[in-house]
């Protein structure tokens, strides 16, 4: 059994490696074939531990499969395919190679049966995603990528600390549901939450993703945060804290997205918001809620990928990224506009889109547990999603006042990728049973009741009304909003500078004191011993004789008196 397994992550990594070597037609073929082969391999895996290897004196479970792991791996592979198609002609080979390795890391995380291999793939993701960001080129990408890498390596080392501690204290490397008790499990949670973009450590996502290339941000939007969601499902299901964290993320995302002017930063904040929904689901922890979280992750990857694809298409065709500079693009980019609207409706969980069938499950999960406050907040947040992403993004980018630009539609492969994703959004929304069949637990939920559809429409449409009524209040300004990254972009460097200045002062003071001491030493001790100094210089014979007699007198005096 074990020797027949094709580790899906390995296939993806081999593909990434070959992409960096091959060129032209073969490379294109490989880009499209690799995720599909991986997908095939994913569905060949039965349940349980399928492959292990010795490492650090432990036996790693490199491939362990079950329903939820397969679900995430499936969507990661699909996303790699769509992203590959989208990036086929435009991205550099190193971006694609890095992105595929990144996807390989994500798939590896999906199937990691123990904490160590989980961590190894986790770090692989951090490194490769940094390369994806850097592939955009330019100074902004360099700095954002550096901050991104440092933060993720920091998160990685926190996670590592937690994992080592847990292994040491429990004696087992098994990846299993944990109880929050003791340093180690808290550190693990912290490490994962950094990748899940939980505030206050969420700023990296709006800092880095918008600096990637158009295709780069498509890849980035899919893997890191969702891998974290999977990790939370596997390790912290039912941890109540996550409900609070999730709610904070939801509203943080909405508020910051409302303040934002950069279209991809809006989308980045909306990732935080959506992952917040998933965290609430995980925190509730019932089968319904966990199903909802998993389904929402699945759906979210598709529509968020789609939204980033449309944003990337706009960026590529116009070179502009600020809402205040865009507008009126629907006239020359109708297909992109339609795709963006589909994505926006999906994220807002409009009926007959994928978001509707997944997000409702989470709300239902809250309702089932009689979590009134949570439910009200989730409902308000649903309206808020429509506000900040569902209307704001397409409105400011494609409609509002005409910018006068008439860019063409993007190339065929990008269009194809967008259409594929848009189709998926609607298909899942219309035929939810296919997705429900993949979920970890059996689903007995019917999303399409008349009441649910009508109330959801009510909610969203009145949110839309609020948007247009409040439009003057949302005038785009050429600003950014301070986030927790202020801490490490301004405060820490300032402290560092202050410390170094202090250090230099101390150094100078010590140097000064040492200098004075050494001058004194030179003058009083060393100088007399120079060949010309008084201790060494040739004494006259008389002086020598006198000296001897003095010494004698001194000694005799000492004895006799």
């Amino acid at each position: 059994m074990t020797d027949l397994v094709w580790p899906p992550a390995l296939l993806m990594l081999i593909g990434a490696l070959l992409i960096s070597v091959l060129r032209g037609r073969w490379q294109a073929l490989l880009i499209l074939a690799t995720p599909l082969c991986t997908l095939w391999a994913i569905w060949q895996l039965g349940d349980g531990v399928l492959q292990s290897a010795p490492f650090l004196g432990y036996s790693l479970e490199l491939v362990e499969a079950d329903r939820v792991r397969r679900l995430f791996a499936t969507i990661f592979a699909l996303m790699a395919f769509a992203g590959g198609l989208y990036a086929l002609r435009q991205a550099s080979w190193y971006e694609l190679s890095a992105a595929y390795a990144y996807a390989g890391g994500a798939i590896g995380v999906c199937f990691a049966g123990d904490l160590i291999s989980f961590f190894l793939f986790w770090e692989l993701m951090a490194l490769c995603s940094t390369l994806v960001i850097w592939s955009a080129g330019g100074d902004a990408a360099r700095r954002a990528g550096l901050r991104y890498a440092a933060l993720h390596l920091l998160g990685g080392v926190l996670l590592k600390l937690g994992i080592v501690g847990l292994i040491l204290h429990s004696g087992s490397i098994d990846l299993r549901p944990l109880v929050l008790a003791g340093w180690d499990s808290w550190l693990i949670l912290l490490g994962i939450l950094i990748n899940a973009a939980a505030p206050p450590l969420a700023a990296w996502i709006s800092d880095a993703y918008p600096e990637a290339s158009p295709s780069g941000s498509v890849f980035l939007s899919a893997f890191t945060t969702k891998a974290a969601v999977l990790a939370l499902i596997l390790m912290f299901p039912g941890t109540q804290l996550l409900i609070v964290v999730g709610l904070v993320m939801i509203f943080y995302g909405i508020i910051y997205a409302l303040l934002e002017n950069d279209m991809r930063r809006i989308l980045a904040y909306s990732i935080v918001n959506q992952v917040g929904f998933m965290l609430v689901g995980i925190g509730i922890g019932t089968e319904m809620a966990l199903n909802g979280a998993a389904a929402h992750a699945f759906a979210h990857i598709i529509y968020k990928g789609l939204l980033f694809m449309t944003a990337g298409a706009v960026l590529m065709q116009t070179g502009k990224r600020r809402c205040s500079e865009l507008g009126g693009l629907y006239q020359s980019m109708p297909l992109t506009t339609i795709c963006a609207i589909v994505g926006a409706l999906a994220i807002s969980s409009f009926p007959f889109t994928s978001g509707f069938i997944s997000k409702s499950m989470i709300a239902q999960g809250a309702a089932d547990q009689h979590l009134a406050l949570v439910w009200y907040l989730l409902t308000a947040a649903s309206a808020g999603v429509f506000l900040h992403a569902g209307i704001k993004f397409p409105w400011f980018v494609f409609f509002q006042k005409d910018s006068g630009m008439r860019p063409a539609e993007p190339p065929w492969n990008m269009r194809a990728a967008m259409l594929l994703m848009a189709f998926a959004c609607i298909a899942i929304g219309c035929a939810p049973s296919a997705l429900y069949a993949l979920l970890p637990y059996p689903v007995a939920y019917v999303p399409y009741t008349a009441g649910h559809v009508i109330t959801q429409l009510q909610l969203l449409l009145f949110a839309g009304l609020a948007f247009f009524v409040m439009l003057p209040w949302m005038k785009r300004t050429l600003t950014i909003s301070l986030d927790a990254d202020w801490l490490y972009r301004v405060l820490v460097p300032a402290l560092l500078h202050a410390w170094l200045r202090l250090w230099r002062h101390i150094d100078d003071a010590i140097d000064g004191a040492l200098g004075r001491l050494s001058t004194l030493w030179q003058r009083l001790v060393v100088a007399p011993h120079r060949p010309s100094g008084w201790i060494v210089a040739s004494w006259t014979t008389g002086a020598m004789a006198l000296g001897v007699l003095l010494a004698l007198a001194l000694l005799i005096w000492r004895h006799l008196i």
Binding site: P54, Y94, T130, W134, A150, L154, G156, G165
Partner: protein
Amino acid sequence: MSPQLLMLSCLCLPLVGGGMLLLAHRRPRLRELILVLTAALSFTSALALLLQFREGNLLRLDLLTLLPGLDLMFEIEPLGALFAVLASGLWLPTSLYAIGYLRARKEEHQTRFHFWFCVAISATMGIAMAGNLLTLFVFYEVLTLSTYPLVTHIGNRGAVRGGRVYLGVLLATSIGLLLPAMLWTLHVAGTLQFTAGGILEGKLAPALAGLLLLMFVLGVGKAAVMPMHRWLPAAMVAPTPVSALLHAVAVVKAGVFTITKVVVYIFGTGFLGTVPAQRYLVYLAGFTVIAASVVALRQDNIKRLLAYSTISQLSYIVMATLALAPLALTGAGLHMVAHAFGKITLFFAAGAIYVAAHRTQVSELDGMGRRMPWTMAAFAIGALTMIGVPPSAGFVSKWFIIAGAYQADLYFVLAVIVLSTALNAFYMLPILHRAFFRAPEGRAHGEAPWPMRVALVSTAAASVLMFFFHAPILALTRSLTGAAP
């Protein structure tokens, strides 16, 4: 071959080779052949020694007795065997590299250079195999002196100034602190023999033991614990092969090796656990880790940056050793090896860049990854090793250091590791970005000569291989802690 003969050959082969080099002074090709052969033979005999040791043979060689109770004698223990194999093993690529480097730079006095290199390696072997503190001290000083001509090899004013700092700090610390510490130990314990479990237990009040430990830690200037670190940046005036093998592996590792030996075999971890002041030394080492990284952040000269990185990484090992937990000791041993692979690769790459492109500053590395893909790929692996990211050896060693810190309940160490990882990323990653994501500038050039490339690729490969196949090294370092319950 009998084990004793093997030990002797480890010690003497480099010397004999060095002598033959001198004789082959006028025939460069023959000279270089001798050099490579000597390195290969040394490595072989160190490896054979290691195998003998793993078979459980008692490896002990009494060379001579200076005074009653004062012998020059050698005895192999796990860490020493590891160190000997490491130093001689890395000498092989380094000798190839040095040949390429010196030829490409058309350096003068190449024979002298190679000769002193041989002497330094021999001294390193002596340190690795030393069976008592006196023997270790003797070879420690020989190493200091024999590397001076290498540091000042270029012979200009800057080199002489750097060499003076180098020699001054190392000799002053060893004679001013290490030697008195050794004398004190002898006076208290009546012996200097490295003994499992230590020789000081019950013979010294804990407060005084703390003082003694401080003298040892600061007296071993080669470990570059602040404030005794100044020599290492100063030594960067040396030709790069020297910086690579000696100031990334042999000399600095001799320092941390000495501290580890003292902790394990002189104090004994059990006894040291009762010494309260020992914690402060952990803090000192931790401070060095962070402070040196912060300084490295601000360096533009590649070799100086690497020097500060070395200071930081050495203190990792010292910190891990002083954590006293078995797993931390394992981590210290592993980190000695991991850091050696990574740092020698980084120095090799820096030297290759210097030779091929005449560049010494980080800010001049734009697009170097396109011009010198092999070199920069190796550099990247070295950088990852420093950060401790898979798939590099640094991951494995840091794993055990973390585990050891948990074992010892030293959350301070954990905090240091977290902080330094972020700092390492901050000074290493920008270099990689420059090299790979920027367009090259200036006149076109290719890779450095092939011997240099072979050397740096092989050490980089070693770092990656150690990530996957660390079991033998792990077993060896584990047995170190077996000797010290």
